[in-house]
Symmetry: C2
Subunit: 136 residues, 2 copies
């Protein structure tokens, strides 16, 4: 199978597949013409990676998950730990974004948004401590 087919079947762009080979996530064979020659196992791995990435796992986490996947003797606790750490990471990120959201929404609400220059959003950013401020 050539990279174009694999891209279609795995849902990943060809560029990304080449990149994944570069960083050692997959090791497709090569044909006599220099083209990558993928097998079904490669497609399967790539789809695995795509799903893991879509859950937000980093490349290194994906590498670890893939290794666990291929290790018949793994303990599911190892997988679970990777997943739990990632979940915590997500939760931290969500909390951070929610905090920003709260502050920003308050500022927006107080801004008239008309053609006059007075703006509580700018006032806040400028450090005028009116009411809302609660940054980083």
């Amino acid at each position: 199978m050539n990279i174009g087919d694999v891209a279609e079947r795995s849902g990943l762009p060809a560029k990304t597949i080449r990149y994944y080979e570069d960083i050692g996530l997959i090791r497709p064979k090569r044909g006599g013409n220099g083209y990558r020659a993928f097998g079904n196992a490669d497609v399967h791995k790539l789809a695995f990676l795509g799903r893991a990435r879509s859950l937000g796992f980093s490349i290194e986490e994906c590498r670890a998950l893939l290794a666990l996947y291929e290790d018949e003797g793994r303990a599911s606790s190892e997988v679970k730990q990777v997943a739990e750490e990632h979940l915590e990471q997500i939760d931290r990120k969500v909390a951070e974004l929610q905090a920003m959201r709260t502050t920003l929404a308050k500022l927006i609400q107080r801004c008239y948004g008309d053609n006059r220059p007075d703006c509580p959003i700018l006032d806040d950013l400028a450090g005028e401590d009116s009411a809302t401020t609660a940054h980083g």
Copy 2:
């Protein structure tokens, strides 16, 4: 004022301040020794930038906000629009993370996390369509 003082007063690392000069967010003067010579206005701008960044505005959004801040004739609607677009961006990101979170939490819950190899998390990533699967 030297960069060290400004870093302390603005809360931004010296490296970041130099970077902000590089990309044209600030334009401190220079003394005869080649050192940057900051004024209070620079410190103020940098603090503004720090707060905007802490609300998640991109550098380019910060640039726009700073320009609006310095434009006495601005309309607050312009500021509000920048802020509202950023708010929507945040909401999209939060939704994305929540979706990941939901899927991931379900998988984690179904994994025993013991020393046996069977693992619903890996099964899901491998594409075995049991129950939970719903990837991006």
